[in-house]
């Protein structure tokens, strides 16, 4: 197990290194002179050169990369070129907000999808199965901004029961925060429900058809026990992998949802940084998301290996 984990961890580090190189290089390819962008059109060329020199962006690219990554691993993310303030105080609340929204969405979508998928599998070919499958597919096919706007219109403007913007007022309590996050979380649930439920349904059907399930039934074990002990444990393995891969999207990829609900998440921060050529924010923000994403994947791998000893042993060999 320890060897498996070490191997996964090493892979994550290599992936992070590659992400850092890619994002740094892509940022270098964006057009425009940093000094000129920051100081404006009326600044003299000399002050632009001095600014670039002070920032170190007139050095060779590999030197800039080495300097940036070595500071990053020491926890120094640098300063925003756009706002001229340290990055971490900007990124941290955005990251926390994204994690909060991801958590609320996770709590809504995972049980609901798994329940829907298992129920559909147990009622295979019957009305319940058709309703769940078709509803899931339909919801997935609707773009998230469309479902978000429908939710806003119905719950925010027509019935006025939920706030239409997701940022709770400063100093709000836990439940107020949850209330403000409900609409965006519901929009995400609508997007992800069909996909996760479909995976859970397929996994459950496969487990129901497996020899060990038939044997368990033949041994006279009660249905509920068979499903709980034998079916679910095996059927949820692919579902966990799917959920883990969605964590990156849930944390860093919600630009559209964040825009529609005017939520200060890390996706919107990075999008704005890319639009406004805030290279330092862009580079560090992407790397922070990558770290969170890979951590989620690592946790999923551990869970997967706990549930499936074959993976654990194969990974260790």
């Amino acid at each position: 197990m320890a060897r498996f984990l070490l191997k996964r961890f090493a892979l994550a580090i290599i992936t992070l290194f590659m992400v850092s190189v890619i994002v740094f290089m892509v940022a270098q390819l964006l057009p425009g002179n940093i000094g000129r962008n920051v100081l404006g059109g009326f600044a003299t060329q000399q002050s632009v050169n001095e600014y670039n020199h002070a920032l170190g962006v007139d050095r060779p690219v590999y030197v800039q990369y080495a300097s940036w990554i070595s500071k990053f691993v020491q926890g120094n993310l640098g300063s925003s070129l756009e706002y001229k303030v340290p990055l971490w105080p900007l990124l941290r609340p955005s990251l926390v907000n994204s994690l909060e929204l991801a958590a609320v969405a996770f709590v809504l979508v995972v049980p609901l999808s798994i329940l829907g998928g298992v129920l559909a599998a147990l009622r295979r070919g019957r009305v319940a199965d058709r309703v769940i499958t078709l509803t899931g597919l339909s919801l997935t096919a609707v773009p998230e901004f469309v479902s978000a706007i429908i939710l806003i219109l119905v719950f925010g403007l027509l019935f006025k029961v939920l706030p239409v913007n997701a940022n709770a007022p400063p100093g709000s309590g836990f439940f107020t925060h949850i209330r403000y996050l409900l609409l965006p979380a519901m929009a995400l649930t609508m997007v992800l429900f069909g996909y996760i439920a479909r995976m859970a349904r397929a996994g459950t059907i496969e487990a129901l058809d497996a020899d060990y399930t038939r044997t368990a039934f033949l041994k006279g074990i009660p249905t509920r026990t068979v499903i709980w002990r034998h079916v679910l444990r095996n059927s949820l393995l692919p579902t966990i992998a799917v959920i883990a891969t969605q964590m990156g999207y849930l944390i860093g990829g919600l630009v559209v949802i964040e825009k529609v609900f005017n939520y200060n998440g890390i996706g919107q921060r990075i999008y704005t940084a890319a639009s406004n050529k805030d290279f330092t924010m862009l580079e560090s923000g992407v790397l922070v998301i990558a770290i969170v994403y890979l951590t989620a994947m690592l946790i999923a791998d551990i869970l997967y290996s706990v549930l499936n000893p074959r993976i654990r042993h194969a990974g260790a060999q």
């Binding site: 920051v38 404006g40 756009e82 609340p93 925010g156 403007l157 239409v164 005017n262 704005t272 406004n276």
Partner: protein, 568 residues
């Protein structure tokens, strides 16, 4: 005019008035101005309230109802304000160049004077001002007992330090004042008097000290760049107490404000990058006021019984600039005229603004200025446009690219232009970029003096321009020949006409309305002939609020002034 009024006017001429004031009195007696224009011009010259009363009598107008506007009592209410879009950089008044930044700074900042939507100048941190004989020196008396949010008293040293910085390299205010004022020209006369020694005569200089020059927020002499949002240190009714870039800002009522007590206890600003989200927040009751809206992007707010729309008629506009110095058909003025003649302007403002706009006549003299109104309006005329194209040797048309930005209704305007010029055989391709990309790059230096930014170098482009109470910036920065003094820095058409430059100079120095109008007409006619820029319309500045917002007045430039605003 009765004998007593005449006697008072003559005494004023003898005892106090300089040439500018005397010319103004002559204009009033000659009946050159309506009431609004009389009040506006009196405010430029800084005339006292009794003197304005005498002038109104001389003009046969009823007396003005001067005095403080009624203000609601202080309450514990906080205004929730939406600003679209967020500031694009650090909140640093000296370098303000975007709407989000000027709105954020303007809530807590104050200026020497304040330009009102009616274009009358109100005293703010200055209580009076006066020109010398040829308007090359303007002397401002400062308001006594003004305190910064830090507690220190405001003196002429603070005003001089602020204005020296504004007139120095690196200041974005140079586009407005760089042609007239050098840092050495700002001089403290005494603790509460400041004199501005200008390079040339500027008869409407007090406007440049107003909220119109949005970078000119008065700051303490010991102000350190980069501390605007971390330390409350302006003089306004509200002080900024928290700022989260891209997210929002918080303001608290300033108990030591010279103007008394503001009705609101504070202001909570939320930045929005999408108009739809701000609109939903207003309709859903999560914000009380949106600082700026447009018909094109905020249609859901119009004709809604729960929303009040605040309008300010001004000179906000779009400029379609045609490079006069390129080796393509745009080089020929007849082609540029032909393009301008394809536009059906009344239909455009109906479609884009539901008529909440004035028609432009291809000059910066917006109808609201009341200048050059005798020059006939340019109208759609396809046969004439075809004749001009044929005369220029382009009867079969040509292909060209129009470069512009995704701001407000501009993409729709670009589509309209593209469709319109088809009638004269022009095959137009649209290159619509994000505002960031459109304004990216250098705007000074090689190859032609305007750097490499698309907005100043594309052959044909459309750019957004904010309103100004006087057309100085449009005439000097956008249409004059490029010079080291700061003229022509935003001249995207690269237009250069010595006669026009000379008329601009004469216009700025002219004391009487008659002379100003004479030069405005000359410039209008030159611009209609040369057509370096198409000014299709001047649209109204719009804001939206819930019905509970009271006492708010929209500003044509977009300043959000909340000292008299309250919530019901």
């Amino acid at each position: 005019m009765d004998r007593e009024t005449r006697r008072q006017l003559e005494r004023y001429r003898q005892d106090e008035a300089g040439p500018f004031e005397s010319t103004f009195i002559d204009d009033v007696i000659a009946g050159e101005f309506d009431r609004r224009e009389l009040l506006r011009r009196a405010s430029i010259l800084g005339l006292s309230v009794p003197m304005v009363g005498i002038l109104l009598r001389a003009a046969g107008e009823p007396a003005a109802a001067f005095g403080a506007t009624a203000r609601a009592a202080a309450s514990s209410s906080r205004l929730r304000l939406a600003i679209i879009p967020p500031p694009t950089g650090a909140i640093e008044p000296l370098t303000f160049e975007d709407q989000g930044g000027l709105e954020t700074g303007g809530i807590c900042g104050e200026f020497l004077t304040r330009a009102t939507p009616s274009k009358t100048l109100l005293p703010e941190l200055a209580v009076s001002w006066k020109p010398n004989a040829n308007a090359t020196v303007w002397t401002f008396k400062l308001r006594p007992n003004v305190k910064f949010h830090t507690g220190q008293a405001m003196t002429s040293a603070d005003v001089v330090a602020t204005w020296k910085a504004l007139a120095s390299p690196g200041s974005q205010a140079l586009s407005a004042i760089g042609s007239y004022l050098a840092p050495a020209g700002v001089v403290a006369v005494d603790d509460l008097t400041v004199a501005f020694h200008l390079n040339s005569s500027v008869s409407n200089f007090p406007y440049l000290t107003s909220s119109d020059t949005y970078q000119a927020i008065i700051l303490p002499a010991n102000y350190k760049m980069g501390t605007f949002t971390s330390t409350p240190q302006t003089t306004g009714a509200f002080m900024i107490t928290a700022y989260n870039p891209g997210v929002g800002a918080t303001y608290q009522r300033f108990p030591g404000w010279w103007g008394g007590t503001a009705p609101l206890a504070g202001v909570d600003v939320t930045y929005y990058s999408a108009a739809a989200a701000a609109d939903a927040a207003l309709l859903g009751g999560q914000v009380d006021l949106i600082g700026q809206i447009q018909l094109a992007t905020d249609r859901s707010l119009f004709n809604n019984s729960n929303v009040q729309i605040f309008k300010a008629r001004g000179a906000t506009h779009r400029e379609m600039c045609m490079r006069v110095d390129v080796n393509n058909p745009l080089h020929d003025y007849r082609v540029r005229q032909a393009i301008a003649l394809t536009l059906d302007r009344p239909a455009i403002i109906k479609q884009l603004f539901n008529n909440l706009a004035d028609i432009g006549n291809d000059s910066p003299f917006a109808p609201v200025y009341g200048l050059a109104r005798s020059v006939p309006q340019r109208k759609k005329n396809i046969p004439k446009a075809k004749q001009l194209m044929a005369a220029a040797g382009h009867a079969k048309g040509f292909a060209i690219t129009l470069t512009t930005e995704t701001t407000g209704e501009i993409p729709e305007l670009a589509q309209i232009v593209k469709q319109s010029v088809k009638a004269i055989g022009i095959n137009m391709t649209l290159a619509i970029e994000s505002a960031t990309a459109y304004f990216a790059g250098t705007s000074t230096g090689p190859p032609k003096g305007w750097g490499n930014t698309p907005w100043l170098n594309a052959d044909l482009n459309i750019t957004d321009w904010g309103s100004r109470p006087v057309p100085n910036v449009f005439l000097v920065a956008a249409l004059s020949t490029l010079s080291k003094s700061g003229a022509g820095v935003w001249n995207a058409a690269h237009y250069s006409n010595p006669k026009f430059n000379s008329d601009v100079k004469s216009f700025l120095a002219a004391a009487s309305f008659k002379d100003q109008n004479k030069y405005a007409i000359a410039m209008q006619q030159l611009l209609l002939h040369d057509t370096p820029v198409v000014f299709p319309y001047f649209y109204y500045y719009l804001a939206a609020g819930s019905k509970s917002v009271k006492g708010y007045v929209a500003d044509p430039l977009g300043q959000i002034y909340l000292s008299k605003t309250s919530l019901a």
